[in-house]
């Protein structure tokens, strides 16, 4: 598999001297979906800014499809990597949605028909057709969030970087946006990098997780990351509720090695267990059950 993003020994300090990133190493493969998690102020946004050359490391530190960001022209980078920022009011800066979606393609130097075509497609993908002439300040937050993704999609990047795509959204808009991101990955093979605090979205949304706290603490599948309690505690992270529930079930004697992380996995797991045990499964209370539940609770207390 080809490496889409390669980061080697990347460090960054703010102008006032405080270190934001120290010796970050990361590889994201083409077509992969990767999450970056970490506490507030861990440098996630600063890191993302390196991925399309807004901040530039020195030669060889950040490479996209094998090309060093320090050497490549800006126009080349923005064609490959699109960033969707967290606050849609920062992202949508043109008077109308059409102008905003056309902004990127025009800057890529495309012909007018091509620009119009791309705007139309991006609106279609995000379910925003008919919104061309709306002003951003007349949109709801959910619509603005989708519009900012559309404004990046109209540039047709091969790598999509999203900063907190699901933050502050209502359940329906959140589900919709997660669906769209997955579809972009599955149907068009776009590589996805997401910085997020939304742990319940992670199992559904990504294949691999990086824990970033100034430097990369560790990396692995969601299963591996969520099973490491010490790691989670040290980095102010949470596990999905389904995962916790099955841990509780385990205290009551439910037999499972690998805890499910999402509802889908839970259904799968239950079906399997019931299948093995002739149509049902058993829970019971021993004297040590309560102790185990108590231990479990203290495990997830963030103090």
């Amino acid at each position: 598999m080809r490496e889409a993003i390669t980061v080697r020994n990347l460090s960054y300090a703010y102008p006032d001297g405080t270190g934001a990133l120290e010796d970050v190493n990361m590889s994201v493969y083409e077509g992969e979906r990767v999450a970056i998690v970490g506490p507030n102020g861990a440098g996630k946004t600063t890191f993302l800014l390196h991925l399309n050359g807004i901040l530039r490391g020195s030669d060889g530190q950040v490479e996209v499809f094998g090309k060093s960001m320090a050497k490549v022209k800006r126009g080349e980078i923005i064609k490959e990597v699109g960033i969707v920022f967290q606050d849609p009011d920062d992202q949508l800066f043109m008077p109308t949605l059409f102008d905003d979606l056309a902004f990127g393609p025009i800057n890529l130097g495309l012909k007018e028909e091509e620009v119009r075509e791309r705007v139309k497609n991006a609106l279609l993908t995000l379910g925003l057709s008919g919104y061309e002439h709306r002003c951003p300040h007349h949109l709801s937050y959910g619509e603005k969030k989708k519009a900012s993704l559309a404004a990046v999609m109209s540039m047709e990047p091969r790598i999509l970087v999203l900063d907190e795509p699901t933050a502050n959204l209502d359940p329906r808009s959140r589900a919709e946006l997660i669906g769209i991101i997955k579809e972009l990955n599955e149907r068009e093979g776009i590589t996805i990098v997401i910085a997020t605090h939304d742990v319940n979205a992670i199992p559904e949304l990504v294949d691999r997780v990086y824990v970033l706290n100034k430097t990369v603490i560790t990396e692995g599948t969601p299963q591996k990351i969520f099973s490491d309690v010490e790691l989670l505690k040290e980095n102010n992270l949470e596990v999905p509720e389904v995962f916790k529930l099955f841990e509780v079930l385990r205290c009551f004697g439910y037999n499972c090695e690998e805890l499910p992380l999402s509802i889908e996995e839970a259904v799968e797991h239950l079906t399997r267990t019931v299948g093995i045990n002739d149509g049902h499964f058993h829970l019971h209370i021993h004297e040590h059950t309560h102790d185990e539940v108590r231990k479990l609770r203290s495990k997830y207390e963030h103090h």
Partner: protein
């Protein structure tokens, strides 16, 4: 709630002014405005004012909406009127204690007042009959300097964001018991809140700039426009400009 500064609230109506090509409209109206403002004769300026009102009625923008905006202009302009009436040297027609009103003062004061009202009234059929983003695009295609166009564009986009931001700060202050009084404490608090708003705008500007650069901003953004100028627009623009010119011809040869 604070009101949004929506000059283009009635842009979706339909009228000859709404159908007027944006570029031709801007040129014709600017010409007319400058021409009225430069007329030295009060009677002819009145003709200009009536024509302005005629165009306003033609545009079907509700008069109440226009009057709501005009009251701010009135406050400003009428103070000029009063000052000029009392201070302009000339023939004295009335006297209050040590202050006297002169005929020349009244004449000049009225001239300036009527010119100002005509100009402001003309703004409405000019930019109130199209969406503001259309106005910006029209200016862009009229080759107005790009940095000016960008300033207008971002002002228009972010004025609403800042209005909301100010509203949130104001609500948060109210929620913690702040009342606006004329005390040093209240003024100081407002000063601090405004200061925070400035800091926030600065930070937002930085984030917006990043978002722009990440989509290839190099300093000269272009937009795609579809304007379609027809014969009707040429005729309308020519008649407005013709009217503006004839005002000056009349004033010059002194027919009225």
């Amino acid at each position: 709630m604070i009101e949004y500064p929506e000059i283009d609230r009635y842009a979706s109506l339909d009228s000859p002014m709404h159908r007027f090509d944006p570029r031709a409209k801007i040129i014709a109206f600017l010409f007319l405005i400058f021409s009225i403002v430069l007329i030295p004769d009060l009677k002819i300026v009145f003709i200009g004012l009536f024509f302005a009102i005629f165009l306003l009625i033609l545009s079907r923008i509700p008069i109440a909406f226009v009057l709501g905006h005009l009251k701010w202009v009135a406050m400003f302009v009428l103070s000029f009127f009063v000052i000029l009436a009392f201070t302009f040297p000339g023939e004295e027609i009335a006297k209050f204690y040590f202050l006297s009103i002169t005929a020349e003062g009244l004449y000049t004061g009225s001239l300036i007042t009527i010119r100002a009202f005509s100009a402001v009234i003309l703004i409405f059929p000019m930019i109130g009959t199209m969406r503001f983003d259309t106005t910006i695009k029209a200016l862009e295609s009229l080759k107005v300097p790009n940095s000016l166009v960008q300033m207008l564009m971002f002002t228009y986009r972010y004025i609403f964001v800042f209005a909301d931001e100010f509203q949130r700060v104001w609500t948060a202050m109210g929620a913690r018991g702040f009342k606006l009084r004329t005390s040093l404490y209240a003024l100081r608090t407002i000063g601090k809140a405004m200061g925070m708003l400035f800091v926030r705008s600065y930070e937002r500007a930085e984030r917006v700039y990043r978002a722009m650069r990440s989509r290839g901003y190099t300093g000269n953004p272009k937009t795609l426009v579809e304007f379609d100028i027809r014969r009707r627009d040429y005729i309308l623009a020519a008649s407005i400009i013709g009217f503006a010119v004839s005002l000056h011809i009349i004033s010059f040869i002194g027919v009225v």
